[in-house]
Point group: C2
Chain length 241, copies 2
């Protein structure tokens, strides 16, 4: 596992997320997209649900069939997706035990909830009928955000490798609070948030605080939660084997 | 039709395309994606074709079912897509006669060919196994490029409205060459290309010339071709009615 590469990929995902959020902000909130059985959409096939799920799940299913979720750093948002029908190489040189300890970690559905809630702050109120574009923006953003957050697994493993005795000690006491504090690095966070602010401004957003706060209050805490889940999962599964 | 809005949308699409191309350039060419029955992909459902089409067509089909191609400025890349099952509002205040004269104009399959050919210049040679991400980048780029090029219809209509006598005169002589010259504005093009260069550099591309040349040699000429097709189609259909 090449930590420098993880860092580089993570910063690139940050770019992608910020660009994507700024694109989404060009459209109105278009709340009807996220409403169950909104009267703005009449489905001739008797579909019941939101227009958002109507588009996202079958698209995710195509990705699943094409093998997306065979890849280490991809976590689906929906259940009941089709199996992949393709055998191919994957660009993942993740050690087997990281795979073993992390494969059940999937926060994507929770990320989706927080993201959809955040749209109210990101977008101006109202309806501009750019429904499809809004959903595609959302899918693009959610997939990048999910990947960025689940990279917490690799970050955690790297931190653990650096000082296993500290973490083993805390894990033996099931001390999640102390591990969280151990993982939190206020200075690094401030640097990330400053970078997010600069990039948001460069991408023409009117109110960069909205995006900075999303990183501060959602993306970073969720990443730490993934780190925490991973290290506990590793600890429990290591004992078993 | 609000020309200022068309211009604004067109420049925004330029941003999206440049960002997307720079993202695609982060991956290798991954030529196997575009090879018919490449041995890098084993399909358990006996699919024959490229991995690229394997992903793109069903994704486009989801878009079709969700109503994408009911919208004026969307042109599909594949044939035989499913009908939309949803009735909803569309954000399009395009006059009916523009719709009538333009609905058969679809250059997307040609855009796809040129784009795939261009990838050899955009990406470095080789295979990094980022197949899915590469295809998703390509889909994102192709849809934006197609929209940008088909905006030529609106640009043409605006130019025609400004000086109908010039175009009517040339159309009466079937003089496509003179209309093309009329449409070409070297100074505007140079400005666009300069803007493309600056944005490409800002997006961290090593060789901005590649993207500038793609705009110069593919996107701009194809836009003019769409303009030309539209004005001839309008001329022929107007005579008939």
């Amino acid at each position: 596992m090449d930590l420098e590469k993880v860092r580089e990929k993570s910063i690139n995902l940050e770019d992608i997320i910020i660009q994507g959020l700024c694109q989404r902000a060009r459209f109105k909130h278009n709340n009807a997209i996220y409403e169950h059985n909104s009267k703005k959409f009449l489905f001739s096939n008797n579909y019941e649900g939101t227009y958002f799920d109507f588009m996202f799940k079958p698209i995710e299913n195509v990705h699943a069939i094409a093998g997306r979720y065979e890849c280490f750093d991809e976590r689906p948002f929906y259940k009941g997706l089709s199996q992949s029908v393709v055998k191919r190489d994957y660009n993942s040189k993740i050690p087997d035990d990281i795979l073993k300890f992390s494969k059940k970690i999937n926060f994507s559905p929770w990320i989706k909830i927080s993201y959809l809630n955040f749209l109210k702050d990101l977008c101006s109120n109202g309806d501009d009928a750019n429904y499809g574009d809004s959903v595609l923006c959302d899918i693009f953003n959610l997939q990048a955000i999910s990947k960025r957050i689940h990279y917490g697994i690799l970050v955690m493993e790297a931190k653990y490798q650096k000082s296993p005795e500290i973490y083993n000690e805390l894990l033996s006491k099931d001390d999640d609070i102390s591990i969280s504090s151990e993982l939190k690095n206020v200075n690094v966070e401030l640097k990330v948030l400053e970078r997010v602010r600069e990039k948001s401004i460069k991408n023409g957003i009117k109110n960069p605080d909205v995006i900075v706060n999303f990183f501060k209050n959602i993306i970073i805490p969720m990443t730490i939660q993934v780190e925490l889940d991973y290290i506990f999962s590793k600890s429990i599964l290591s004992k078993k084997s």
